[in-house]
C-alpha cells in the first residue's frame, strides 16, 4: 500500500489488481510489444505511470470485447477510446424519454448524488413494477453504465455506487415478495468461480420471484462441483447461472457442459448473460437466455412440462 495517496507510479501487483492483467502478462507484453514500459524504482522494480495504467485498462476492455492485443497495443489512448465508442454505439435506440432519464441517472452516478440516484430509481420501480423495472431500466442501464465504464468515463467508486444502489433496491423489492414457502420451481442461483458479478443473479431473482418461483442464491463464485452437490441435495428444479460480458465464452461453455453432464437429468440448467450470446446451439440440454425478458416465458414452459397445475 502506498504511504502517499499521491504516487508517481504503481507497482506491478497494484496494476494487476487495477487492470485484471496478470503479472506474467504485463511482463510478457513489455517484452513482446514494448508496452507497457514502466520505469524502475530504486530496487529495480517496475513502476507503472498512471497514464500507462489507464491505457492498459482500455486495452483490457477491448480485449474483453474480442479484440487482440497485437492489433491494439500500439494505438494511442484516443484511438482506443474511439474504438470503445464504436462498440458501445449499437445499443440505445429506445424511447427518447427513457433515454433522457438514463442520462440523468448517469449524471447522478458521476456526481455521487446518491440521494437523487436512489430516489429516481425508487420512483421508476414504483411506476413500472419489479419485472418491468428490471427489464426496461436495470438491464439497459447496466449497458449504459458498462459502456461509460468501458470508456473510462466512470471511476471505481462511481461504478460501486451504482451497483450498490441497484442491489439495495432489488433486494428490498425481492424480499417484499414474501415467497411461497415451497413455491415451484425451486431455483438455485449462482455464478462460476471466476465470475464476481452478482447483479445478473439479482435481476433473475427479481424477475421470477414475483412469478412464484422459489429462489435461493448462493452468491458469486461457487465451485462447479459444489453447484452440483448443492443442486442435487437441495431438491432444486432449476439451476440458473449468469455470466457478465467479461467472462471468457469458452470457459462458460465448457463449464456449462460439464455441469450439465454432472447434474441429474430432471434438474434443468438455465444460463444467461452477455458472454453467451449466440452460444445456444453449442449447449444442448441447456436453456440459454438471450434476454431477461425470456424468463417468464421459460418459467411457464417449465411449469407446463413438469407440473400438472399452474401455480
Amino acid at each position: 500500500m502506498n504511504t502517499d495517496l499521491q504516487s508517481t507510479g504503481l507497482p506491478i501487483a497494484a496494476v494487476e489488481r487495477d487492470t485484471g492483467l496478470a503479472k506474467d502478462t504485463l511482463r510478457v507484453w513489455e517484452r513482446r510489444y514494448g508496452f507497457p514500459q514502466p520505469t524502475r524504482d530504486l530496487n529495480g522494480e517496475r513502476s507503472y505511470p498512471l497514464e500507462q495504467v489507464d491505457k492498459l485498462r482500455l486495452i483490457r476492455r477491448l480485449i474483453d470485447q474480442g479484440l487482440r492485443p497485437s492489433k491494439i497495443i500500439g494505438l494511442d489512448v484516443k484511438a482506443l477510446a474511439g474504438m470503445l465508442d464504436e462498440i458501445g454505439k449499437p445499443r440505445d435506440g429506445g424511447d427518447p424519454e427513457r433515454s433522457a432519464q438514463f442520462a440523468a441517472i448517469l449524471k447522478f452516478v458521476r456526481l455521487h448524488l446518491h440521494e437523487d440516484l436512489r430516489r429516481t430509481l425508487q420512483q421508476l420501480l414504483m411506476k413500472l413494477g419489479l419485472q418491468r423495472f428490471v427489464s426496461e431500466v436495470v438491464a439497459p442501464l447496466n449497458h449504459v453504465v458498462g459502456d461509460a465504464w468501458l470508456r473510462g468515463e466512470l471511476e471505481v467508486p462511481e461504478e460501486h455506487l451504482y451497483t450498490e444502489q441497484i442491489q439495495n433496491i432489488l433486494r428490498a423489492a425481492i424480499s417484499a415478495h414474501t415467497t411461497l414457502r415451497s413455491g415451484r420451481p425451486a431455483v438455485l442461483l449462482t455464478t462460476f468461480p471466476d465470475e464476481q458479478h452478482a447483479l445478473g443473479l439479482l435481476m433473475v431473482e427479481a424477475t421470477i420471484t414475483p412469478e412464484g418461483a422459489c429462489c435461493v442464491s448462493l452468491g458469486t463464485q461457487t465451485p462447479l462441483e459444489d453447484i452440483r452437490t448443492a443442486a442435487s441435495g437441495g431438491r432444486f428444479d432449476i439451476v440458473a447461472v449468469s455470466f457478465s460480458s467479461a467472462y471468457p465464452a469458452r470457459q462458460a461453455i465448457d463449464g456449462l457442459r460439464s455441469l450439465r453432464s454432472g447434474l441429474p437429468e430432471e434438474i434443468s440448467l438455465w444460463a444467461g448473460g452477455a458472454a453467451l450470446h449466440g452460444a445456444a446451439r453449442k449447449l444442448p440440454g441447456i436453456t440459454v437466455f438471450e434476454s431477461i425478458d425470456a424468463l417468464p416465458g421459460a418459467l411457464d414452459a417449465w411449469r407446463r412440462t413438469y407440473c400438472a397445475t399452474q401455480a
Copy 2:
C-alpha cells in the same frame, strides 16, 4: 476449467484461487520447506493433489491467525486442525439458549436448509429489533460460522448461503428504515482494495441507520484515493471502513494513517473489524471500534461534538 468435475490434481492457478496463496509463494514453499510437493502432469507442470490443497487451506487459516509458515508447515492435517480448534475456543460463553439457537442455525447452514435458516433469522430479527439482532446474533454468528469454516467444517456454498441470507435480511431491514433525506451524520461506508467482505459494512449500516445516520455504502474494494475524493466531494461527516480478520493488520494501519492524513480534518474516520484489535493506540485521530456495540455511543459523541441539537 476442468472438463471433468472429478480431477486428480489441481493446476497451480486453481490452487492460488482456492487457497489465496500466490503462485510465487506456492513455488517458494516447495523449494524451501518441501511442502507442498505436487506431482507433475504430462507437460511438466505442477498438479496439486486434493489432500495437499486441503492442508494448504488449513495452513493459510493458521497464518491468518498470526502463526508462521516454518512452524506449522511440517505438521500433519490432524495437528493443524487441532490448533485451529484451540484458537476457535476462547469464544462462546454466552446465554445457553442463544448458543443452542446458534447450533441450530449452523446446522441449517450445513444442511442447506435455506427455508429454515431464513425463517429463524427473520424471527430473531423480529424479536430483537435490528440493532440487537446485529450485535447479539449476527456478530457472534459470524464468529461461529467463521470458526467452522476455519476448521473446514463448512464448504464454499454453505458459507455463501449464510452470507447471502444475512445480507438479504440486513438489507431489507435497512431499507425499511426509510432514512431521513439529510440525516446527520452523513456516513460513507466502504472497504480497502484487498478487502472483499461486505458483511461488516452492512452491520454498521444496520446499527447506525436506525439512529438517524444517513449511510451511503460504496461496497467493497474502493481505492484509497477514491475514498478520499468521494468523502471530500460528497459532504460526508464520517468515513467508516471495516476489516475482516484475514486482512493484514499492517496494511490496514498504514492505509488508515494515509487516508487520515489525506482527509480534511473535519471528516471523522471510523474503523473496525477483527484486523484492528488492539491497534487503537497506533491510530491517533481515528476512532477504532473493538465491538459493534460501541457504535451508537460514538454516534452520540459525534453529535454532541459537531451538532448543537440532537437528532
